[in-house]
Assembly symmetry: C2
Homo-oligomer: 85 residues x 2
Amino acid sequence: MSRYRVAVHIVPRRGLLDPQGKAVADALHSLGFNGVRDVRVGRHLVIDADAPEPQSAERVVRDMCAKLLANPVTEDFEIANVEQA
Amino acid sequence: MSRYRVAVHIVPRRGLLDPQGKAVADALHSLGFNGVRDVRVGRHLVIDADAPEPQSAERVVRDMCAKLLANPVTEDFEIANVEQA
């Protein structure tokens, strides 16, 4: 068993409303950041887990996302990175 | 002016308590994911912004993080990616 650090992005599905992103974009405009066109706010999770190999660490984290971490109706997730911790 | 898509990670500073990460880790254990050792929950922002070049898009987003997006006391941020949108 080794320890792996798996980074996951969970983001609101494209096409769905993202009220938090809209609020952030409005706040940035108020501060004078006029070049901002769109903001999407998602979650960045870093999971340290024991697994025999990186492929199985990634597989287990995908399973976690499907079962608990991501909302299958409104969110998409992607494994951003897997590295030995 | 071109449009750039800048991805940012904002994460609780290492060493500080992350109650949301702790709650997620406990929930994963309850579901039988016993290999989980630690979970940190941060935010993943994707900002579309107009800028003359990628370097200035990144610079502007760093400024946004310092001024609004990240809490300078409790959070660290890093620019994960800059690409033409």
